[in-house]
């Protein structure tokens, strides 16, 4: 026991006498500082990656929609029912959005305005056609057009909201 104690003290003395260069690259406080820094960087990068991923997914969805619009054969006579999107939920989604984003980016807003004006025009035409008791096929054609416009408006407003949130 006594010998072990002496050996321990000798070893401690030897360690204390080691030159400064053999100490660790930095002390505990420096280690903690670096660890905090890494954690903060990781968090920022993680957030950035998530936002970038969401934006890329949204671009892919929009690109898919464009391809569909460009390549898909449009029916000569639109279907009587079941528009491509659930129009009621699409309109609920649109109603849930603020009138405009906090920061209006003019390019995207102009796209939104184009669609909104087309929808307003179709709605007024529908009113006029209904009071004139237009044939159902004409009303259906307009209704179908409205569904398409609403569907596109949802996509464009979604893109706008996403871009606004990522700022």
């Amino acid at each position: 026991m006594h010998t072990e104690l002496e050996q321990g003290e000798r070893l401690a003395a030897l360690l204390r006498s080691l030159p400064e260069q053999t100490l660790g690259p930095y002390d505990w406080s420096e280690f903690r500082r670096r660890a905090h820094e890494r954690a903060a960087l990781g968090q920022r990068i993680g957030e950035g990656r998530r936002v970038a991923a969401v934006v890329v997914i949204a671009v892919a969805v929009c690109a898919g929609a464009i391809r569909w619009v460009e390549s898909g054969p449009r029916p000569a006579a639109p279907p009587a029912a079941a528009p491509r999107v659930d129009e009621a939920s699409a309109e609920r989604y649109l109603a849930s959005l603020p009138h405009e984003p906090a920061v209006v980016r003019v390019g995207t807003r102009a796209a939104v305005a184009t669609l909104e004006d087309h929808i307003a025009l179709v709605d007024d035409l529908l009113s006029a056609e209904r009071v004139e008791r237009a044939p159902p096929a004409r009303l259906l054609a307009l209704q179908h057009e409205r569904s398409e416009l609403i569907s596109s408006l949802v996509q464009v407003r979604y893109a706008e909201a996403l871009a606004d949130e990522s700022r």
């Binding site: 690259p25 990781g42 970038a52 209006v104 004006d117 209904r130």
Partner: protein, 314 residues
């Protein structure tokens, strides 16, 4: 190396490996201390991410633009069919679908166009229109009466609409927008890319440096700070010095038209053709001044001719 140093080094190495495994540049053992080169690693990775994010935003905006433009193009033939059957191309629109079934009290609103003039004014589906511009509408053909009254409304004019909501009267002012003549304006424009889609009409579409312009509707607090109680704040001026705007300017009027929101300013700006001159009445550094500017050209596009009046919806 003593045990304490060894343990520290080992832990630091583990942390560094963990960070490296997440495919991100990190501060590893043996890196120079931040004090020696402060924030270099941060700046590099964040700048790279910001560049990627900005590129993704641009793609997103371009995709949104194309969706809107192609949809508008595809809806054109259908709308034109209705034009051909005698609809006045210069009629104004308010964006409501009326229920043709008679209501003893007035014309029931079946749908309100999202983002349309009626929606902006506050009219909702289910409201019953009882008067338009002080002319009462009621009875079995109330919807027809509203449609007929709207035929006399000119774009940009204010329409007083009285409705019954839950049995109580409410008054709204709807600013009518230009309809067919504007949206189906003559003049082909070309789409970006190799294809040339003929006869695309999208008069509200903006291109070029103006698309980068960012605006904020002025709140009273912001207004006090920037020295104006109305207008829209330019938070990001368009590139290339377009419109001679600067960050921090407040747009009070565009050729006399006073924008009430960022959307409104967008509609006003989009009603100009490339090359047209306009006067911006602005506040810059608490001083009011007029700026003469020219609407920049749209890359890859020729101008869209508007029929009749400058449209719209402004």
């Amino acid at each position: 190396m003593n045990r304490h140093s060894l343990l520290c080094a080992w832990i630091v190495a583990l942390v560094a490996c963990g960070a490296a495994a997440s495919c991100r540049p990190s501060i590893a053992l043996g890196d120079p201390l931040p004090a020696a080169s402060p924030g270099d690693t941060h700046t590099a990775s964040e700048a790279d991410l910001e560049a990627q994010l900005e590129a993704a935003r641009k793609q997103l905006e371009a995709a949104a633009h194309q969706v809107a433009e192609l949809t508008a193009q595809l809806s054109r033939p259908v709308i034109e069919k209705f034009m051909a059957l005698g609809d006045d191309p210069d009629r104004a629109i308010i964006g409501v679908q009326l229920d043709p079934a008679g209501d003893p009290q007035g014309a029931r609103v079946r749908e309100v166009s999202p983002g349309g003039p009626a929606a902006e004014a506050g009219i909702r589906a289910g409201d019953v229109i009882v008067a338009v511009n002080d002319t009462a509408v009621k009875g079995d053909d109330a919807a027809r009466q509203v449609v007929d009254l709207m035929r006399n409304v000119k774009p940009d004019s204010k329409v007083r609409v009285r409705v019954l909501r839950d049995g109580k009267p409410r008054d709204f002012t709807v600013v009518a927008r230009a309809g067919l003549g504007y949206l189906l304006a003559d003049g082909p424009i070309t789409m970006p890319g190799p294809e040339l889609l003929p006869h695309v009409r999208a008069p509200l579409m903006l291109r070029g440096p103006l698309t980068d312009l960012e605006l904020v509707t002025l709140s009273p607090q912001l207004g006090r700070y920037f020295g104006s109680d109305s207008g829209v704040l330019v938070v990001h001026a368009p590139g290339d010095g377009a419109l001679k705007l600067e960050d921090g300017d407040v747009i009070l009027a565009i050729d006399g038209r006073r924008p009430t929101s960022g959307s409104h300013a967008t509609r006003i700006l989009a009603s100009y053709q490339p090359g047209e001159k306009l006067t911006l009445h602005i506040v810059r550094l608490h001083k009011t001044l007029d700026v003469e500017a020219t609407v920049p050209e749209r890359p890859h596009h020729r101008g869209v001719m508007l029929r009749g009046h400058r449209a719209a919806s402004v």
